[in-house]
Subunit: 444 residues, 2 copies
């Protein structure tokens, strides 16, 4: 199909807020609750201070507050910072159909925009739903080629969602929206070589910022090619080996929003090592003594081993280490933020346990499953299999669990402020001005 980009532009431009039904609204609220918690949780990460040090001097007039921070900066820079904080702990949401973290790039742009420009909750939610849906459609239509090629699709595809969401709030016309999509496509970037480093967190922030600037340039009349998604030198041809499944992309375009495949993480790390943490934590809770374990064999899907075959030397690398996942479960019975710090990675008991772990790619094991086989010093073997871990589509986090996750990670604000923010997040669709929520998330 040689007009997908224009179809997308048309669909976004003509969409009405009433198209966001109750189910979409509900799931969008869950995604935003989870997002704000993660952004607050990452707001004091060293990568944030480094970014302020490096780029703060270039910021324009301080129009926008940043979630969890005292500084006010220009809108695109605020988007970059929101994106970084919300993804740096790898605790944000995931759509397993394409392994994208769809909310971070879109919501980071939107909250930065709303911090400086009045936006009603209804319009905000509509723009968010459109941005999220766009990311998910492009992600689904180019999966697995795009991701397997080595793109960090949260960034390289997230940028489209940020651009159309902001473009919608601006009221771009169809031609302008097409240019915004073109400018998003031509800034699409982000390499998986950076998994385990700060640059992974930079990616959705960069996407959010580029998306905002794409919409701004398009509104002002900056022209692009006409086939950014589907052209012979467009996004899919260049980055996804030409894969752009038009039937998948257009299925329900303009009438439904793809929120039903979103998941929320109980552990702040790569989603594919969640089953390992859960199973190993169960061993721990059952009283298995770490010192008496001789060897741990973890059987996972090939993709999981490919993604998480890291022997970590930093907390950020620990988030992509199947060995670390097994070790923290067995030694601590937990997978909290404090299990993914530099200190936890260098904890001698955890490091010793990691050395006992081997990972085997097994194509009979699902990507959300794991089989763990423990050999004790006395030769005894114990085995557990987990089909789907907590947070998975078939075992979703409840609203109460999302609340708990939120409150457990938002230490940059006081308990009272945290509960107030949480309450507002659950009612964002009814807000008169979403800027008030950002204001409530600002510190200092």
């Amino acid at each position: 199909m040689n007009d997908l980009s224009r179809m997308l532009a048309h669909s976004i431009v003509t969409s009405q807020a009433a198209s966001v039904g109750p189910e979409t609204s509900k799931e969008a609220h869950r995604a935003l609750v989870n997002y704000i918690g993660c952004a607050l949780g990452g707001a004091d990460h060293p990568a944030m201070d480094i970014t302020f040090d490096a780029l703060g001097g270039f910021s324009g007039p301080g129009a926008a507050g940043v979630i969890g921070r005292p500084e006010k900066v220009d809108v695109p820079f605020a988007a970059l910072l929101n994106g970084l904080s919300s993804h740096i702990h790898d605790f944000d949401d995931t759509t397993p159909s394409n392994y994208i973290h769809p909310t971070s790039p879109v919501a980071s742009a939107l909250f930065a925009w709303a911090a400086a420009t009045p936006v009603s909750g209804r319009d905000f939610l509509h723009a968010f739903a459109l941005g999220f849906d766009t990311v998910t459609r492009i992600g689904d239509a180019t999966y697995p080629n795009h991701y397997k090629a080595g793109w960090h699709s949260t960034s390289s595809i997230g940028v489209f969602g940020a651009a159309v969401a902001i473009g919608k709030l601006m009221g771009l016309n169809e031609q302008q929206m097409l240019w915004a999509i073109g400018l998003a496509a031509t800034q699409a970037s982000g390499l998986r070589d950076n998994f385990g480093s700060m640059a992974k967190g930079f990616h959705p922030g960069h996407a959010a910022r580029c998306g905002i600037e794409a919409a701004c340039l398009a509104r002002a009349g900056f022209t692009t090619g006409t086939t950014p998604l589907e052209g012979p030198r467009g996004f899919a041809a260049v980055t996804s080996g030409g894969l752009l499944d038009a039937a998948n992309f257009t299925d329900g375009l303009g009438t439904s929003y793809r929120f039903e495949g979103n998941t929320y993480k109980p552990y702040p790390c790569g989603i594919v090592i969640h089953p390992t943490i859960e199973v190993c934590s169960t061993f721990h809770d059952e009283g298995l003594v770490p010192d008496k374990i001789k060897a741990v064999e973890v059987k996972v899907a090939p993709l999981v081993r490919d993604l998480c075959d890291l022997r970590p030397s930093s907390g950020l690398q620990g988030k992509f280490s199947i060995y670390h996942a097994a070790a923290i479960g067995l030694v601590r019975g937990q997978g909290r933020l404090s299990e993914f710090t530099d200190e936890a990675v260098s904890d001698p008991r955890i490091a010793a346990m990691r050395d006992k772990v081997t990972a085997v790619a097994d194509s009979t094991v699902g990507e959300d499953s794991v089989r763990v086989i423990i050999t004790m010093d006395d030769g005894q073997k114990i085995e557990k299999f987990l089909g789907a871990s907590l947070g998975n589509l078939v075992r979703p986090l409840s609203d109460a669990q999302l609340d708990e996750k939120f409150l457990n990670q938002v230490g940059v604000v006081s308990g009272d402020q945290a509960r107030k923010v949480l309450e507002r997040c659950w009612a964002i669709g009814d807000m008169k001005n979403v800027g008030d929520l950002v204001q409530a998330c600002v510190t200092g």
Copy 2:
């Protein structure tokens, strides 16, 4: 070779200014003369005003002048604007070994930096040579895969040159330089779908800006992966089908600079249609009457037809139209800026002539050659073949021709100012502070 990124970082960090010999210095000066002329020539293009309208409000404190403009803006934004102006007319230099325009992304970052921070001509020239060389090495080592995939490599590879050049001026250490390369890699972007639109000009500006920010972040300690160029999920694997010719990349790394393959354009358009303009202008000068021409057949290399098979409706599209190239040569005998305006593209005589032109891919014709066969109304056939057009490596523009090109396009400054700037460009390596040159290029 699994340590190319670190080798590059090491080479840049340890390089001494004395390594820039007289031949490199000479060609670097020619490149910078050509660059400043192009940046002044594009400074009043509508795309520049649009970009100011769109993004000017986000600019930080006005530390940096912009070439050919009255505004002062933050350094990364100045880099974006310099990149846009210097490339928007497609008049900047080209290395035919990889079809990159290497100077624009590198020099745009450097002049923005020098506008705000004192830099000696010697250090500036050294950093420029390193940036140019880095772009050319990565370009050569990934050609043709990277370019043929559909990347606008001036942007997607240019970003590396900007990052290492600015990183060199900052005095980054090897670890920081590796991070700068990592942050460049992960922002690498730019799709050929945009050829013929303003977004093509945006690309080197975006690369320049991203390169500056990569260096700033790296200096502050922002971490990345360790194998941004050569890793299994690094730049070459993800964008170039894994092609990264290590022998090519490392040949002379640290001891010589790849300036010998650079060329300068006599016509402001895609380089591969230059032979067509030249041949058709010769027909015109020999008195061939356009109205008596029945048909024009242009035989070009397959790449040329692939790149320039556009029936244009704007001046920017005309720059990538083999049909327009033939038409302006035959009708006007010229290929100046005024042949690539919207007006020229809609000129009825030129439009009528374009309709008579067909282009045939012929693999026996070189990419810098053309065979033009004219059929007159009376049935007479005339044929000309050109092996290499003016500006080509074997027919380089002389210094005097570069001066003429410079003075012909810098209308945003007065004649006196233009000659003063030109003189300074030729002596940039001896300047105490390159910021003085930017100051001389500022208008208003």
